[in-house]
């Protein structure tokens, strides 16, 4: 009885899933059918070939990606098999010194226009687009057809019972129930075989590194500009004012000693302020503790100064300075996000070598953090990518947010 019940449940879920698979995979063939139907309908019109060619061409390109996205999510939900999307990242859109925007392919006068122009060019060059297109056809002819079997059985059963041919109806029902638990299962092997991106080739790697190098160069240039501006408007200006005060004080020393004394006091206050500004600037370039004590103590020192209650769980690690600096600023950014966006009150930071460097930052905030193009997390991801590092974010709405960063290190 229990086994019967389970089989019944399997058949019902199977039937539902077969229906979903059929609905998703039939989209592309249905559009072809529509094109043919239109062509037939307008057969006396000399332009009737237009829908026959245009509709499948444009429609397949537009539909393939959503179909593949749905298939990936269905396979992941039903079987737990995760298929990476494997789309290429579009190259960054950057403003050149001439004021124009460069998107990796063309120049445009605004960032928005550059992004729009980039979208289709990038898609057409991405092998994943063509993989999606091929898959949309293959899946319709394999998993799509297979999932139609139980549905056809149901149709036969309905037709049979309606016309009182109970034998035909019974056979149809039997076929539907018998095949339902299995019919949708073809989706997984087909998706794994035809939708999974091929292992990255050397050429892909070269493309990735080229993009990373461009990113790093741009980020560095922006950083240097910021430092120059800060020094120019801050310390340099203050030192000029300081020199002025001293020169005036020197002049007034004999004639108006009281005024001279006041100027000297101003000069002293100015010197103290420039020191404070320089200290902040230095901290933003490379925090002194990082230099003096390394990553773990720098993170501890940062945790102590934070308004959050932070527990640091770390083993001593020794790393190359560039990696230390990148990871330190990543941690700082994550904690700042936790305070600013997630309204967290406490956080834990753990640092370990396994032998890759693994840093996990978790807060008790309200979650909902996503890696968005142009967002802070994406920038963080890009900075770590320069060291082949990866960032994984789990942040359900309502929290907690957990970010795991991994940077490969040669064991020393």
């Amino acid at each position: 009885m229990k086994r019967m019940g389970r089989f019944g449940l399997d058949a019902l879920t199977g039937l539902w899933r077969a229906g979903v698979v059929a609905a998703v995979t039939v989209l592309v063939p249905a559009m072809w059918a529509a094109a043919v139907a239109l062509a037939v309908l307008w057969s006396d019109n000399p332009w009737s070939w237009i829908p026959l060619v245009m509709l499948p061409a444009v429609g397949s390109l537009g539909l393939a990606q959503p179909v593949c996205r749905w298939v990936r999510s269905l396979v992941a939900r039903w079987t737990g098999t995760v298929i990476e999307p494997g789309y290429r990242e579009p190259p960054p859109v950057t403003q050149l010194s001439t004021g124009y925007w460069w998107n990796g392919y063309t120049y445009a006068s605004s960032a928005k226009q550059a992004r729009q122009e980039q979208e289709w060019r990038h898609k057409l060059r991405d092998p994943a687009t063509w993989r999606d297109l091929r898959f949309a056809e293959i899946v319709a002819l394999t998993a799509g057809l297979a999932s139609l079997v139980p549905l056809a059985g149901i149709a036969v059963a309905v037709a049979g019972f309606a016309t009182s041919s109970y034998v035909v109806g019974g056979l149809g029902l039997l076929a539907a129930i018998g095949t339902a638990p299995y019919a949708w299962r073809l989706l997984e092997p087909v998706a794994v075989r035809f939708l999974r991106p091929p292992p990255p080739s050397l050429a892909d790697r070269v493309d990735e590194l080229t993009a990373q190098r461009a990113n790093t160069t741009i980020a560095q240039a922006a950083e240097i500009r910021r430092i120059e501006r800060d020094l120019h408007d801050g310390a340099q200006a203050r030192l000029v004012a300081l020199g002025l005060s001293l020169a005036t004080a020197e002049k007034l020393m004999d004639t108006d000693p009281r005024q001279a004394k006041a100027l000297l006091q101003d000069a002293r206050a100015g010197a103290a302020t420039s020191l404070t500004e320089l200290r902040e600037l230095v901290k933003g370039i490379n925090p002194p503790v990082l230099n003096e004590r390394g990553l773990v103590d720098a993170v501890r020192a940062f945790a102590l100064d934070s308004p959050l209650e932070i527990t640091v769980d770390a083993e001593p690690v020794s790393l190359d300075p560039p990696i230390e600096s990148a990871v330190y600023f990543a941690v700082v950014e994550l904690v700042t996000n936790a305070v600013r966006h997630a309204e967290a009150t406490s956080a834990t930071i753990s640092i370990s070598r396994t032998p890759d460097l693994v840093v996990v930052v978790e807060d008790n905030g309200r979650g909902g953090a996503v890696i968005r193009a142009g967002g802070g997390l994406e920038g963080l991801h890009r900075r770590l990518a320069a060291f082949d590092g990866t960032v994984a974010v789990t942040s359900p709405a309502g929290g907690p947010t957990r970010v795991r960063m991994t940077v490969p290190c040669e064991s020393s």
Partner: protein, 214 residues
Amino acid sequence: MRILVAEDLYLLRDGLVRLIEAYGHQVVATAGTGPETLDALLTLQPDVAVIDVRMPPTQSDEGLRAALAARREIPGLPVLILSQHVEQLYARELLADGTGGVGYLLKESVFDADQFVDALERVAAGGTAMDPAVIAKLLSSGPTTRRLDRLTEREHDVLALMAEGLSNQAIASRLFLSESAISKHTTALFGKLGLTDNDTSNRRVLAVLAYLNN
């Protein structure tokens, strides 16, 4: 007082020596590296040592490590650490042994020579001198902030100055209040924080710092 000056930058070292001597104290030795500093601390046992955090050979925290090592050998050996930046982490390490005779100031604190020499004398006498920047961080970070919510603004000011290492008399003159007003505030804030007031001001400061560090 017999004073050791450990600082690797010649200009600063020279300036410090001149400033200290202008106030009538004696500089018994100068050091420019971490090992030299440790050696001078242990052999000369100065009344107080002014030590820069970052020194050769590694240009990391040589000075701080020399000071901590010397104080492990000779507990309570008075040291005043100078740095371009202050970190709670280092302050905690310096205060961890609870013996006092510790100072930790930003380098620009020498701009106010009177206050600087005052701090130096306080440390030599076994007291503490913590930079206002460290105390501000201690008071405003992490769980401490909430515990200090119960204090009035004035009590908060008094607590901050006390944590820097100042005596009631010094706090009174900084805040332009009478000494009796200050002692009223201290009694009130000690009550609120659940600390027992101590007669000697050094031990009282250490109790406050221990409370904030916790």
